[in-house]
């Protein structure tokens, strides 16, 4: 097939990243711009005043821990793949998947916590005075969650591949791309958390 032959022609060259992985990194640049744009919008709007400051839910601290654990297990899985330790690859990916799903649950719990304090996405749901800070925070978390769900699907696919013994020393492209994306969503969350945590002081 042309596509496969073509890829070999290029990816075998020394000093060249696989075009697919490079494309993923470009996609990550685009996603980063989306969040940089939105967090800049947050700052511009915050500076105009009429802004409700509120504490972030405690659940978000736990979800940050979950994301750190998942990143560590993902790193472990990639290293195991490079060492041809196939069982460890699957274990690492499974831990990542569980930690990722826990993250999703914790974010959901965080939304409930916010709602219990009267902070909703839209004023139609009764948020006090229609202040927009709650909308921003919930939008950031939800948009990040959407990106993380993509990552969970990716991890699940690679996990299935690893269970079929298709992820090993000579075939690391999928796990390497999965690793890059997963660390990206992890770092993105830590950025968002720190940004929102320190935002009142900006």
């Amino acid at each position: 097939m042309l596509a496969a032959a073509k890829m070999d022609e290029y990816s075998n060259r020394p000093g060249k990243m696989h075009p697919k992985k490079f494309s993923l990194m470009l996609l990550i640049v685009g996603m980063t711009m989306l969040f940089l744009g939105l967090t800049s919008a947050f700052l511009v709007r915050e500076a105009e005043g009429n802004w409700l400051h509120f504490d972030l839910p405690t659940e978000f601290i736990y979800s940050t821990v979950a994301v750190l654990i998942s990143s560590a297990s993902m790193f472990f899985a990639l290293r195991s793949a490079k060492q041809d330790n196939l069982i460890s690859v699957s274990i690492g990916l499974a831990i990542t998947l569980v930690a990722g799903l826990s993250f999703v649950y914790l974010q959901y719990a965080g939304f409930n916590d916010l709602a219990s304090r009267g902070i909703y996405f839209s004023p139609a749901n009764g948020s006090a005075g229609g202040l927009v800070s709650g909308s921003f925070v919930i939008m950031f978390v939800a948009l990040h969650l959407l990106h993380l769900l993509g990552g969970i699907v990716f991890v699940a696919v690679v996990l299935v591949k690893s269970l079929l013994s298709q992820v090993h020393k000579k075939n690391t492209l999928s796990i390497s791309m999965c690793n890059t994306y997963w660390h990206f969503v992890g770092v993105l969350w830590i950025y968002l958390y720190l940004f929102l945590y320190f935002a009142p002081q900006f």
Binding site: H18, V29, G30, L34, L36, G37, A41, S122, S135
Partner: protein, 623 residues
């Protein structure tokens, strides 16, 4: 590598419809872009009828738009705004972004860097289909009961955020947003592919400093798109939430008449949208013009039979424009009550961006200087671009001045400026590209005489349409006004409007000549020879008959930059990039092959570090 790329069987569907071949996808982008262009230009002529003859009844308007939008053959005022909005949207995004960049990046990047196809042919195909879907969604908004989006192509809230604000803020606006979100997905899929292909898939010997300026322009355009479109996506999402989910990112303290009363939304900031919009919006004008620059650089060098003047300066200018384009968005917002210090910063940055732009135009002129110019159709349009860009660029200096902008903002002066500097210029660049690479796309050449008629009518009409608008703007005539016979102050401009509309019709007729020439030449044009313009770049080394994989055998190796024209010691006045220097071919040819052969036995290395890549791009890596 097997040599059978061109010989695998393809069904009609996989060859012409769901094609993953970059050359076919480029034709799909071009044809769709041309169709959208015809719609966009026709709309402008129709609303210009209203401006020139506001009291006259035109049965064609009633026939086209029915009693609701053109009662008694006169455009409804709301629908007039809808036409203006959709015209702007189509021309900016669908013709000059996707139609121009999509066509020529797709066609030329793999062919000129020496690649078999894009990094991901599948993503490339998706990019086109998202674009087509986006075009269909946008056009479908013309058929909804409340009409298309009509708040201007910049869709400022609150008009765009409040479905109840006016008919055009209803479903039409939602469809506009959906269309643009699909468009952004298409642009990102395409852009990622373009960058990845240029940086990772160049053939042997094609170092960055041997790349044609077209490729530099397409790559930097894609980088601009990758960095700016996601921000518009963010802005668009917030607008969507305001419209559909009841949030108030952009809405605040609004009281609607007609029994609606005060809105629930408070605390939003409409200016916030302008920041997010123009953070894309300004780079967007460079996303439009930079591919046209790239095409012009190539076409002018080939047809002046001279090396492009200041190759490195051209690249530095493109990079300079790319960086600065992210730092000037505020000049669209001088009258929003911006802090004067901030306004001054944007003013200074805006004036600085004139420097790389001027470097480019001077380099074009210097390339033309004492060249043995061949006035092909492509060359005429390329020179036309230089003319229109200079004329339009000069008024940018007026508009970039915060103090002058207070009186010029939202007048016809702005309309004249951007239609010349990035509208007509980019169209001329696109036309230059179409005439120049038509033989590469379709294996035939376009009719030269019809091309000349097309050029002169378009060139003359472009100036006749947009030049008088400067005077209207200086006199304070606002843009987007529906009728010039309501206020007596505007009465003197009615005659000018008649003149402009007649010129616009002339320009429209010229495009019919182009359409005839284009479509008839696809089937009946003169058969093209292998390298009709005697150009140096690699696309002319690929066979005229299209092969999926571009070259039947090995991909050519590159030994020189693409602008070796009229070298004093050479036998001919051009030396293609794949021709080695006399006596040194052996040495250059062998060196890159050896490591590749030995490397093929090793497992693939997927984890090349980023700094290694950057080192390689900069030419600092191991040979």
């Amino acid at each position: 590598m097997s040599n059978d790329h061109g010989h695998h069987k393809q069904s009609f569907i996989s060859k012409y419809v769901f094609s993953m071949d970059h050359k076919m996808i480029s034709k799909q982008f071009l044809i769709t872009g041309i169709i959208m262009g015809v719609i966009g230009v026709s709309m402008s002529i129709l609303f210009r009828l209203q401006l020139a003859w506001p009291e006259t009844s035109f049965p064609i308007l009633n026939w086209l738009f029915g009693d609701q939008w053109a009662p008694e053959g006169r455009l409804d005022s709301g629908f007039y705004m809808g036409l203006v909005t959709i015209h702007g949207t189509i021309m900016v995004f669908y013709v000059l972004t996707a139609g121009l960049s999509g066509t020529f990046s797709n066609l030329l990047i793999p062919l000129q860097v020496g690649a078999r196809d894009m990094a991901s042919p599948f993503m490339n195909m998706l990019s086109y289909w998202f674009f087509l879907l986006s075009s269909i969604v946008l056009m479908s908004s013309m058929f909804v009961a409340t009409g298309p989006a009509s708040g201007g192509w910049t869709i400022y809230p609150p008009l765009s955020a409040l479905a109840k604000a006016m008919p055009g803020s209803g479903v039409g606006m939602t469809l506009w947003l959906v269309a643009i979100i699909l468009f952004i997905v298409s642009a990102l899929l395409g852009g990622i592919n373009y960058i990845s292909t240029v940086l990772n898939m160049r053939t042997k010997g094609m170092s960055m400093n041997r790349m044609p300026l077209t490729i530099w322009a397409f790559m930097l355009t894609a980088i601009l798109g990758l960095l700016s479109f996601p921000v518009l996506l963010g802005g668009g999402l917030l607008l969507m939430f305001d419209r559909l989910a009841g949030t108030s990112f952009y809405l605040s303290d609004i009281f609607l008449g007609g029994g609606v009363g005060a809105l629930e939304q408070t605390g939003g900031s409409p200016i916030l949208f302008q920041h997010l919009f123009w953070f894309l919006g300004h780079p967007e004008v460079y996303i439009i013009i930079m591919p046209a620059f790239g095409i012009t650089s190539e076409v002018i060098a080939v047809n002046a039979r001279k090396p492009i003047f200041g190759y490195t300066a051209m690249i530095i200018s493109l990079i300079g424009i790319s960086v600065l384009s992210f730092l000037v968005w505020g000049h669209h917002m001088f009258i929003t009550g911006m802090n004067p210090l901030l306004g001054t910063i944007f003013l200074v940055m805006t004036l600085i961006i004139a420097v790389p732009s001027a470097v480019k135009t001077f380099n074009y002129l210097a390339t033309l200087w004492k060249g043995s110019i061949r006035f092909t159709n492509g060359m005429m349009f390329a020179i036309g671009l230089v003319s229109l860009f200079i004329t339009g660029g000069l008024t940018g200096i007026f508009l970039g001045n915060a103090a002058l902008d207070i009186s010029l903002h939202d007048t016809y002066f702005v309309v004249a400026h951007f239609h010349l500097v990035m509208g007509s210029s980019a169209i001329f660049g696109m036309m230059a590209g179409i005439y120049h690479w038509f033989p590469r796309m379709f294996g035939r050449t376009m009719n030269k005489t019809l091309g000349y008629i097309h050029f002169w009518l378009t060139f003359i009409s472009a100036y006749m349409v947009f030049f008088p608008m400067h005077f209207q703007g200086l006199a304070g005539v606002p843009r987007r006004y529906y009728s010039f016979n309501i206020l007596p102050e505007f009465a003197p401009w009615l005659d000018v409007n008649v003149f402009i509309t007649l010129a616009a019709i002339l320009g429209g007729v010229a495009q019919i000549i182009f359409l005839y020439n284009f479509f008839s030449s696809i089937f009946a044009g003169e058969k093209a020879v292998q390298n009709p313009w005697q150009a140096n770049t690699l696309e002319w080394t690929a066979p005229v008959e299209h092969l999926h994989g571009n070259w039947p055998g090995e991909i050519p190796t590159v030994y020189r930059w693409p602008y070796d024209y009229s070298l004093p010691d050479a036998d001919e006045d051009f030396i293609p990039q794949n021709v080695p220097d006399k006596g040194s071919s052996e040495e250059i040819h062998v060196a890159p092959v050896t490591p590749e052969t030995s490397d093929a036995k090793e497992p693939k290395e997927d984890n090349v570090m980023l700094f290694t890549l950057v080192k390689n791009w900069l030419g600092l890596g191991k040979a």
